[in-house]
Amino acid sequence: MLLRGKAHIFGNDVNTDYIISGKYKFKTLDMNELAKHVMEDLDPDFYQKINPGDFIVAGSNFGCGSSREQAPLAVKYANISAVLAQSFARLFYRNAINTGLPAVECDTANIATGDELEVDLTKGEITNRTKGIIIPVKPLPPVMIKILNDGGLAAHFRKHGGFNF
């Protein structure tokens, strides 16, 4: 899987309330509607700034807080192709993979807002074309690769009729 887009930088400990505020997520299952409010409390215009395929790039503990799957879904429906972070909170990581949003653990220190990135999940590396550097990616556990390759956990279940690792 090869993904291309620009980086949008966020800091450490971006919690699920920032990704999508509780006041929206309880109201609707319309993810296109929720996507408009993604990261709104950190950057009110963020949704407008996204070009399809772009990346959210963050520090450590991305997605800490609630178990709301609306968080990775809102990111995915906002046309973000992957989240790259130094580390992820457990629930976000799990939910991202289950819903088919790549969550990539890597060193994000050498990425700045606007950098052109190429993320190769198969090869396990990121090319920062703006800076001309290659950043290695921490490999996903095999179970998660299986789920991602099937297109998320729902598709995995449809395909296999249950857990099949």
């Binding site: 400990d13 919690n15 309330d17 920032y18 505020s21 509780g22 006041k23 997520k25 309880f26 109201k27 609707t28 299952l29 409390d41 450590s60 503990n61 800490c64 807080g65 609630s66 178990s67 709301r68 799957e69 609306q70 879904l73 580390s87 909170a89 457990r90 629930l91 799990r94 939910n95 289950n98 819903t99 556990p141 179970v143 998320g152 956990l153 729902a154 279940f157 449809r158 249950g162 857990f163 690792f165």
Partner: protein
């Protein structure tokens, strides 16, 4: 090789002995979803071509986060939960019954050694009962409803040994805030916490739930304790079922072992906008308070309401403070009424809302205005958490919250006890 509590409980629910960092597909004793996560789970259930729930008796859906519904969109999602529950025969807890993390322990269906999966991050609360319980997302829940199973990575464990007795006016909430401040918000990510030592042994079950509840604020997957006489006495109110308690082996392997002396602990406050931004109460003292909240799955239990009533009896909350009380369950609400606790709180100026999440997550029941300060017994103070990103949330024990409601500013409760 010795095992931690987490390794043992997960082994008991797997087809093999498992140790930290291994993967397992485990049999689950009980599943839970709430109104923020269940609608998506129902959708995923249908997407997965789910026909029936593996065992309806082992599934509880709870309407507590926006209950009663404040807006049409939510009403439609609540209806979806009610319809699904009726069709599949699973338990539905409708508005007014209480917050999920009180209702599941009160169900009598879980206890020492159980494995519980909930679509809510604070599912770790039941670790106080010596159960391995953890939060997942909606798609995971849907997979569980179909298969009765969950795939899990066995967590490593951090062991917290707490020596000494908490001083007067200092509570489990202060202790867990202190630990979170030291370990930080991601200090236990992907791990389990075991809490042990004489401080923990001396805590009531209510106080133990508070400590287990907040394990996730360190990033942890579970917050576990051993079972003792108090555990069994508490459970006997709800069930006659016998459970198998699980202890860690003496040679269990821990990722880290931390020791604390709690005898000199002072009341703690988490300042905006991070749960690990913790300080002793005097550093925050004097901050004006516009709204005080007593309740949530962290501190809405009978013991918490009693502490509040004791401090408030024959006193009035400050006229500039809105004091909101949300009992954790209907059972607790009724018991507090019977004891005169609710009477005392209301006479002091409390606005009592429906048992459930109350204003914790900003969907209803008291959204603060721009620039306002809130002091709350909840577990999270993220920016925007209570529905307004321009408000400031401080977290503290019920005693500190109530003392602050009295004076109109953040106050050390020890003078009032």
């Amino acid at each position: 090789m010795g095992q931690t509590i987490a390794e043992k409980i997960l082994s008991l629910h797997s087809s093999k002995q498992v140790y930290a960092n291994e993967l397992t597909v485990a049999r689950v004793d009980l599943f839970m979803g709430q109104d923020g996560t269940s609608p998506l789970a129902i959708q995923a259930f249908q997407e997965m071509s789910g026909k029936k729930v593996f065992n309806p008796a082992k599934v509880h859906l709870i309407i507590d986060h926006s209950a009663p519904s404040p807006i049409e969109g939510v009403s439609a999602l609540h209806k979806l939960m009610r319809d699904f529950s009726r069709e599949t025969g699973i338990h539905l807890h409708d508005i007014g019954e209480g917050v999920c993390h009180q209702l599941i322990p009160e169900s009598g269906q879980i206890g020492p050694g159980s494995l519980v999966i909930g679509a809510d991050s604070h599912t770790c609360t039941y670790g106080a009962l010596n159960a391995f319980s953890t939060g997942v997302g909606s798609t995971d829940l849907a997979a569980g409803l179909i298969s009765g199973q969950m795939w899990l990575k066995i967590p490593e464990t951090i062991k917290f040994t707490c020596h000494g007795q908490l001083p007067k006016g200092v509570y489990a909430k202060d202790l867990i805030l202190k630990l979170i401040g030291e370990v930080t918000a991601d200090g236990a990510t992907y791990m389990a916490c075991e809490y042990t030592g004489e401080t923990i042994a001396a805590l009531s079950m209510e106080a133990r739930f508070t400590m287990a509840n907040m394990a996730v604020e360190m990033g942890a997957k579970a917050g576990l304790m051993e079972a003792d006489e108090k555990t069994y006495r508490w459970l006997s109110q709800f069930t006659g079922q016998k459970f198998t308690p699980v202890k860690a082996d003496p040679d269990a392997v821990y990722a880290k072992e931390l020791t604390y002396d709690t005898a000199h602990l002072v009341p703690q406050v988490a300042k905006p906008h991070r749960v690990d931004n913790v300080c002793p109460v005097d550093e925050a003292a004097g901050t004006p308070v516009n709204q005080a909240v007593l309740g949530t799955c962290t501190n809405g239990r009978l013991e918490d309401l009693r502490i509040a009533a004791q401090i408030l009896r024959h006193r009035k909350v400050h006229r500039d403070v809105r004091f909101i009380v949300a009992p954790a369950s209907r059972r607790i609400f009724l018991a507090a009424m019977q004891e005169g606790v609710i009477q005392a709180l209301v006479e002091s100026g409390a606005a009592v809302v429906t048992p459930g999440c109350g204003p914790c997550v900003g969907t209803h029941n008291g959204i603060p205005a721009d620039g306002e300060n809130v002091i709350s017994t909840a577990n999270r103070n993220f920016k925007g958490r209570m529905g307004n990103s321009k408000a400031f949330i401080y977290l503290a024990s019920p005693a500190t919250v109530v003392a602050s409601a009295l004076t109109g500013e953040i106050t050390d409760p020890r003078a009032y006890i």
